[in-house]
């Protein structure tokens, strides 16, 4: 997993795309050009307290001067989106990493997108570039209503009659069977809330879509909801220092508190940035990135923990 440079970007424009979605245009504070990216890529936004949130780039990759992201306000969340909505006004500075793409466009004979709400963000540049190439594309965009559908105008301009909209409050609830039967070489991209992902997977399965033809954008690792974190001790092999990791803090946070700054990105156990070695200890692996074979000596400290104690190769 590659490290990426963190840039100081300035908010050039901030507008509400819908009542709950903030659409930001970001430019570099001193350079005329930003690092290039491909449709589907995301950037990491760094919060003042060190937390990191990932947002898909929803602008045009040809435009090297600006990045565009859209942030949905989640009042029930842990405060990251609320901070962004309040702090990222025009002229504000945002610390943003160079882009990375976990969700690239695949080689396919036909591309079907199902985008739910804010899930439109990676889908828009992907669909736009495919449509511009004249590829076979169909896009389904689901939201409560047209007024709640972020970037609807942009998506509709990019896709024309390849776009079908599904607005539940207007009497058109999305029917996942609209994706149609699988055809040879087709690829299905699904971005949106977990409910939508599950519904589309079930329908796809029934319609003969093989598992390998489906790409779902999920930054959320499949964490076990019943997991009860317990405190443990982490020892640093180099210095012998022993750090106490309380039940309500991650190993990564505790390392950071003690000046051990490690690369990190998703902090959800999906990107692999923070992975390091360990010895001596029973580790409770909760990431979705380290292979089973590597689990005997690799740990993702952002989500994984240990029983009683572990010695880290740090």
């Amino acid at each position: 997993m590659t490290a990426r440079v963190v840039m100081k970007l300035r908010v050039e424009a901030a507008r509400l795309a819908t009542p709950g979605v903030l659409h930001l245009t970001l430019v570099h504070a001193s350079r005329p050009e930003l690092p290039a990216w491909e449709p589907g890529a995301h950037v990491d936004l760094r919060l003042p307290d060190g937390r990191i949130r990932q947002y898909s780039l929803c602008g045009d990759p040809q435009d090297r001067r600006t990045y565009q992201i859209a942030i949905k306000r989640e009042d029930a969340g842990r405060g990251a989106s609320r901070w962004a909505h309040d702090a990222l006004v025009e002229g504000a500075v945002a610390h943003v990493s160079a882009p990375r793409n976990n969700f690239p466009i695949r080689e396919a004979a036909r591309h079907v997108f199902v985008l739910g709400g804010i899930g439109v963000t990676p889908g828009l540049p992907m669909a736009r570039s495919l449509a511009a190439e004249g590829a076979d594309v169909a896009v389904h965009f689901c939201a409560r209503s047209a007024a709640d559908a972020p970037l609807l105008a942009e998506l509709s301009a990019a896709c024309g009659d390849r776009l079908s909209t599904w607005f539940s409050a207007e009497g058109r609830r999305f029917d996942p069977r609209a994706i149609g039967p699988y055809s040879e070489g087709a690829c299905l991209y699904v971005c949106g809330p977990q409910r939508l992902l599950d519904a589309v997977r079930d329908a796809a399965d029934a319609l003969g879509w093989p598992e390998t033809s489906i790409r779902a954008e999920a930054f959320q690792a499949t964490l076990d909801e019943n997991f009860k974190p317990e405190p443990f001790e982490a020892k640093l092999a180099s210095t012998g220092a022993t750090l106490h990791v309380p039940a309500d803090r991650s190993l990564l946070e505790v390392l950071r508190d003690h000046g051990v700054t490690m690369p990190s990105s998703c902090e959800l156990g999906v990107c692999g940035s923070c992975v390091c070695g360990y010895r001596d200890g029973v580790v409770i692996h909760r990431d979705a990135v380290i292979s089973v074979a590597d689990r005997q000596d690799r740990i993702a400290p952002c989500v994984s923990r240990a029983r009683v104690s572990v010695t880290l190769d740090l």
């Binding site: 590659t2 490290a3 990426r4 440079v5 963190v6 840039m7 100081k8 350079r31 610390h95 990493s97 160079a98 640093l236 092999a237 180099s238 210095t239 000046g259 051990v260 700054t261 490690m262 690369p263 740090l314």
Partner: protein, 185 residues
């Protein structure tokens, strides 16, 4: 952090006479990064603090990338000559020339006319500030990943010098760089 002349490299070199004397170099650029992997920012002047680093830099703040070995890196320097060589693909260790934008090399001071590889275990001045050469910098894979450029091999043996600050003060681009009479060796 270990004191530059206490570092394994610096402490040995300190007692071996060297031949690179009489050079007169110049400070071209000053860069700092507020934290590991943050882009470097150029400064028109910088406050160097003895025993700490450059105010506003990751090493001064103690927030640089963690290295388990005792190290000396209050200030890091790189030769403009090495960057020029990369830009003309000399030696041709990679597909083509590598143009590093200012500060992308992630060293604090870019200098010209200073034989950094000869300054391990030596004292020298940058303007009014006195630096101690602690160890040669070594290119790291981290930098390569961060930049997405194959800089590891071409920077080998000319990746610059990690120094301690003996006497602090303010430095600015244009400041002269000279070897000092060694009083403590």
């Amino acid at each position: 952090m270990v004191e530059a002349f206490a570092h394994a490299a610096g402490s040995i070199a300190r007692h071996v006479p060297g031949g690179a004397v009489g050079f007169k170099g110049v400070l071209l650029h000053i860069h700092v990064a507020p934290a590991a992997s943050f882009e470097m920012e150029e400064l028109a002047e910088a406050q160097c603090v003895a025993g700490r680093g450059i105010v506003g830099d990751r090493y001064y703040e103690g927030s640089g990338t963690y290295s388990p070995k005792p190290d000396t890196r209050e200030v890091t320097l790189i030769e403009q000559e090495a960057l020029d060589a990369l830009a003309r693909n000399d030696p041709p260790l990679q597909a083509g020339p590598i143009a590093l934008a200012p500060g992308d090399h992630r060293r604090n001071l870019t200098v010209r006319g200073v034989p950094l590889n000869h300054l391990v275990g030596r004292r020298f001045r940058v303007g009014d500030v006195i630096l101690r050469g602690g160890r040669l910098n070594f290119p790291c894979k981290y930098l390569e990943e961060l930049l997405g450029l194959p800089v590891y091999l071409p920077l080998y043996n000319r990746s610059g010098l990690n120094c301690g600050i003996e006497r602090g003060g303010v430095i600015r681009p244009g400041d002269a760089i000279e070897l000092l009479d060694d009083d403590g060796a």
